[in-house]
């Protein structure tokens, strides 16, 4: 009785399912959790969890976020994500990041390329591709090559899940508790820049 991954399970109304693909050390899990906390700020229901595996820097990892207007009862990995976020473009050649995704899924990739260039380079078909140069933005704003917060900025723009002002306010409050002002402002710049610079098709 193995599961055949298909598309017969439709997500409930008002449920957004996001699957994150990254490499250990890029902050995919932190980003998945950040989106859950942003959902909480919007009085929505949320769930965020990594697919636990060997915690090695550089190894491919997967994390999941669910955001919903209704309480979330399901406890299983996301098979049919409406949104796929890829924090490392090199994963496009080695991981089937759109596995199980419906035809109208959004795929956001951390890349210097435009979506058209990305499609050509990696021979990608279908879905709606978006790109953002998240690693460069992170280096320029946070001074570290961790692309997770810029990806959240781009995701905010594409999905409209949260107003950008709310994201900035959240960062100021939440990061403000843990990090010095310079780091907080760097992350805010990263988020707002990627919100502006994300490229669609």
């Amino acid at each position: 009785m193995a599961t055949k991954t298909g598309t017969k399970q439709k997500p409930a109304a008002g449920l957004t399912e996001i699957r994150w693909h990254g490499r250990g050390g890029q902050g995919a899990v932190t980003a998945a959790k950040m989106v859950a906390e942003l959902a909480l700020g919007q009085k929505k229901y949320f769930q965020a969890f990594p697919e636990y595996g060997p915690e090695r820097s550089g190894a491919p990892i997967v994390a999941f976020t669910r955001v919903s207007n209704e309480p979330i009862q399901i406890y299983a990995g996301i098979e049919h994500p409406q949104i796929v976020v890829v924090l490392d473009p090199s994963l496009l050649s080695i991981v089937d990041v759109t596995k199980g995704a419906p035809a109208d899924a959004i795929v956001l990739v951390n890349s210097e390329m435009t979506p058209a260039e990305l499609r050509k380079h990696y021979h990608l078909e279908g879905f709606h591709y978006y790109t953002i140069a998240a690693t460069r933005i992170a280096v320029e704003t946070i001074k570290r090559a961790i692309p997770n917060t810029p990806m959240v900025g781009a995701l905010t723009r594409i999905t409209g899940l949260f107003p950008i002002d709310e994201v900035v306010a959240f960062l100021r409050a939440d990061f403000g508790k843990k990090f010095p002002p310079k780091v907080v402002e760097g992350n805010i710049n990263a988020i707002t820049r990627s919100y502006e610079e994300v490229k669609g098709e």
Partner: protein, 400 residues
């Protein structure tokens, strides 16, 4: 009902339980501080270091020693807690019986994870299902909120003078323990009022009233009678668990029972399930109901004591019951929950067919599709004139 509207937090299951422990603020916490331990103990150690709680925190060199130290502390007269998981629970095993037979009201959090081998750190229920005959009360929670709530209720249950029996509460490893989910907390004052001050019985440190704990009690002693008294306490625990849950509902607004019944009144097929998979099952029941299938669910909350009469009452009118076990009992007729449910319904007339399903071992994911497959088996059995085979059916087993 004096429900408090507290703020919703985004926390991991382990953070939820560490917060509960912090609000309970027991006298002593003894724990093994490294793998296979969970984040619960690390978070609690931080609270101790930050002076947020007044507990004496004792780190030991093994889980066997952790349970031994907990027993010493509780016998000495202190309100004592610990946490464990997986191999750690297995290493505690022989000492768990001693805690129960001394009737020490210890509370232990156990994060359900697989046992080796092959080496696997992920969710299943093999660890605590293997400890079901140790004499501890066992409560299984579904989600973050219930993990927190059960931790607090466990203190009152264990310390009840009607039973004085150690209590463990469980939640699913990683699926809940490492995932972020919503939590509403009580205030520390509410928790402290609910659990009340600790009254030790016959504490060893009361030197004016010296007692002996754990002496030899051989062939002509009272060992047999002692075991019977433990079992009688287990029978009484059914009432205690429900009474504590009812009282907790008054301060939290969240009502728990010995088991949770969902859509059972007119159900023709039903699934019995433990832990977080109940959420996915409930969702599947809703979907099947919208398609006209009379599906229902029972979620196991108290497993020791097992409320067999309540299961008979809840399920005897159902045509076919599927029991989903996230642990197996090799060579038995089915998993531990299956055996329990099937025995509970033996005296019912008419009685449902009861079929065993095994799922999720070593963290294998369980999707709504898999639960629909199980319900399809039950529906087919309900329509068949012949009795269906009770061979184990495996959900999401690889066939490559």
């Amino acid at each position: 009902m004096a429900t408090t509207e507290s703020e919703i937090l985004a926390v991991t299951g382990n953070e939820a339980v560490a917060e509960a422990m912090g609000q309970i603020d027991p006298d002593v916490v003894c724990a093994y501080p490294i793998t296979p331990q969970t984040e619960v103990v690390q978070l609690y150690a931080q609270m101790v270091a930050d002076g947020k709680v007044s507990s004496e925190f004792v780190t030991v060199e093994s889980e066997h020693s952790a349970m031994s130290a907990v027993i010493g502390s509780a016998a000495g007269g202190a309100r004592t807690m610990t946490a464990t998981s997986s191999q750690g629970f297995a290493l505690m095993w022989e000492v768990l019986f001693i805690a129960a037979s001394y009737r020490l009201p210890i509370v232990m959090t156990t994060v359900n994870r697989a046992l080796s081998g092959p080496i696997n750190i992920h969710c299943d229920h093999s660890d605590t299902m293997g400890g079901r005959d140790t004499g501890w009360i066992q409560l299984y929670g579904e989600n973050h909120q219930e993990a927190y709530d059960n931790c607090i209720m466990a203190v009152r249950i264990a310390e009840s003078m009607d039973i004085r029996t150690p209590t463990m509460h469980m939640y699913d490893g990683y699926v809940i323990s490492g995932a972020i989910g919503p939590l509403q907390m009580l205030t520390k004052e509410q928790v402290q009022t609910f659990i009340g001050p600790y009254h030790a019985t016959n504490p060893m440190l009361d030197t004016k009233h010296p007692v002996t704990v754990g002496p030899f009690d051989g062939l002509h002693g009272w060992y047999f009678e002692h075991k019977v008294s433990q079992n009688r306490a287990m029978d009484r625990a059914l009432t205690v668990i429900q009474d504590v849950a009812d009282e907790y509902a008054e301060i939290s607004g969240r009502q728990y029972g010995l088991l949770e019944e969902y859509c059972l009144d007119d159900a023709e097929v039903a699934i019995v399930v433990v832990g977080s998979t109940a959420g996915t099952t409930r969702m599947t029941v809703d979907k099947l109901r919208s398609q006209g299938v009379k599906a229902g669910m029972v979620r196991v909350r108290a497993f020791r004591p097992f409320p067999h009469a309540a299961y008979a009452k809840a399920l005897e009118h159902v045509k076919v019951v599927g029991v989903m076990d996230r642990a197996d009992s090799f060579g038995a007729q089915g998993g531990p929950v299956f055996l329990e449910v099937r025995a509970a319904l033996y005296d019912s007339d008419p009685r449902p067919q009861i079929l065993p399903f095994i799922y999720g071992l070593g963290g294998r994911d369980i999707f709504p599709d898999n639960i629909e497959q199980a319900f399809a088996v039950l529906q087919k059995a309900a329509q068949s004139k012949k009795r269906t085979s009770t061979e184990r059916r495996y959900l999401n087993l690889r066939d490559d």
